[in-house]
Amino acid sequence: MGNEAIALGAIRAGVGLVAGYPGTPSTETLETVAKYKPDGIYVEWSVNEKAAMEVAAGAAYAGVRTMVTMKQVGLNVASDPLMSLAYVGVKGGMVVLVADDPGPISSQTEQDTRHFAQFSKLPVFDPASPEEAYLMIADAFELSERLGTPVLFRPTTRVCHGCAAVEVEEQRRGVNPEGFVKDPRWVIFPRLAFENHKKIEARNAALCDEFSDYRYNTVTGSGRKGVAAGGVSYSYTREAAKLLGIDPKLLRVATPYPFPERLALEFLSGLDEVLVLEELDPVIERELIYLCGKHHLNVKIRGKLTGDAPNAGELSTELAKISLAAYLGIPLPAQQPRKTPPLPVRPPVLCAGCPHRASFYAVKQAMKGRKAAFSGDIGCYTLGNAMPLDMVDTCLCMGADVTIAQGLHRAEPDTVNFAFIGDSTFFASGITGVINAVYNETNIVLIVLDNSTTAMTGHQPHPGTGRTMMGNVVEKVSIAKVLEAIGVKSVTRVNPLDLDAAVKAVREAAAVDGVSAVIFESPCIAVAKPLTLHTVDADRCIGCKKCIRELGCPAISMENGKAVIEPSMCYGCTICAQVCPAGAIAVGGAR
């Protein structure tokens, strides 16, 4: 897997500290370092990306080679330290790995980290494949240490989650940091920022030239109609060119910032037109337009801005082929769409037995007939918005449920405002929002969906789990105690799988004037041992479909007018049995 390749490449390059926060598609990088963890490497899941960035920066000040891992939206959280760190610099090589997610496949935005590179004035590497990422990460460490600046490394989903054969070298660069040397350079002041700004501009101008000779920035092929690409789009472009039987003049940009200007000018010379194929934003396209303007070149640059390439979503060999064929005037055979029977619609849903289903259902039952709004957050539980639960009215970004609910309350004080937050998200960025509500006397009900793990990204530990990535068992940070310490008036812990108790707890919390909280505690079913299998007694089932209509459990479907439970999926959460008006669902059957 690309993420594993990056991790192994970082280990080989002598990384001494890795910190991050889970986020698809970046997560497996840190997990792989932790899995191998040779002597001298420290690994942690930090509470959020900002914390991770600062931990890594501190170690890099002391000369340790460090890596921070996150997904693209994680960099928004870590942007405060990043922007200043770009001015302060580092001593040990520091690679900021930010995985972008074209599509998006598992994200809330299609933001492009290459912009962050330009914005923060930091060099960025853009690997095209897992095998290349393995080698390129060492280049990133080397450059970072040589220039004393953090460096961005930006793979995309298909590089992160693609697998390829990689030859891994045994030899590893030693971890021998010099240690922290006290120096005014580590304290950012306006005067220092001004001086360093000048140095950064000079350095980046030199990098434009240096990167023109970088081994992964290349020009191949020939002709007067050129093509430019970067990252995995370069792989799609090569595949599409192979299918079309062409070898156009092709610029491959592996370092979109600082842009390899000399190489790009060589590429542009003798061309009439260029088609740029890239995912997310038209970064290479704008750089080429800029170069044409700067050097008065009469070359037409085509791409997203001219409608010659898709301006949103993931690229593929097909899309690259269509754009290339249209650009080069190659006729493509018309595609006959297959006439298939109607295909099932299959949106992702909460797992069968997921305790979040019970929690959402309990709140829904408790608020029946009352005006209520439900602010949700990032995690598996965003799926609570699907029918029939329909319990997520808003979702914005990590931790926003707590504070969006406060704004909604100010606009509509007579609505009961609920904020749903997962345990990992609570630690990442929920706590300050709760303090805000208590301080400003804002009436909200906080619902903590505590399944004792970071489920969506594949079950990473967090401060509430009592485990660390170094394999240590530590004191758990108690969510209830944190809330009590903040001054939340009523804090109730309840098992959502006990429906009556759960509904009662929500009703009581909603009656509190001020901030109240219900912590629903039940482990994620993907890591917990299954409970007793349940079945439907067909003789007693009245076919009312209440279990399906109200719960939407993927294990339950109708067969011949009766509900049936798929034994391979049933976890034994018992919620359907508690909901069934005919008492037709009970323990039964064998796994």
């Binding site: 697998c163 054969a165 029977p341 949106p347 965003t382 391979s568």
Partner: protein, 197 residues
Amino acid sequence: MMELNVLLAGVGGQGTVLASRLIAQAAMDKGFFARTAETIGMAQRGGCVVSHVRVGEEVYSPLIPLGTADLLIGFEPGEAVRCLPYLKNGGTVIAAQKAIMPVTASLGGAAYDGAVMLDYLRENVPGVILVDGEAICAACGSPKVLNVALLGAAVASGKLGVTMDEMQKTVEARVPAKYLELNRKALSLGARAVPAK
């Protein structure tokens, strides 16, 4: 020069990722270059998932281009039909017979009948190999071996370019010892679903 594209299509939780890794590993064990691309993340929760396996020195894209898959392994009939555009002319389809009802269908949103999908596959894909995965899982005593059973059928179809012994070795190297017997059985029962030539 061997070049092979295998697409695996199913529903999150069915084990497509492990199956695609095993196919790629078996090819690599024979000295071929292989790459895969898998669905990881939110879509895993009961959504459609597709894994791409590509073998050969001159494959650049991690994703199989439409109309070029040599083999399509459908873990569910509707998902097999959905991914037919990837199949090349004359390509092979192996599909599990049991339909998985999405919640949307159960709620009455859109009707879904697995039998219709199976009929469509029989009519439109010459030589389609349908596997009674439910029976194999029952015989093995585990609902989790559908992926390995389909792998057995894929090996038996001859399309993967690996022998049963080679796949067996690859599985043994990747799967915990306590599940070895279970997987061996699923592999051979899956292979039996392929009619002898």
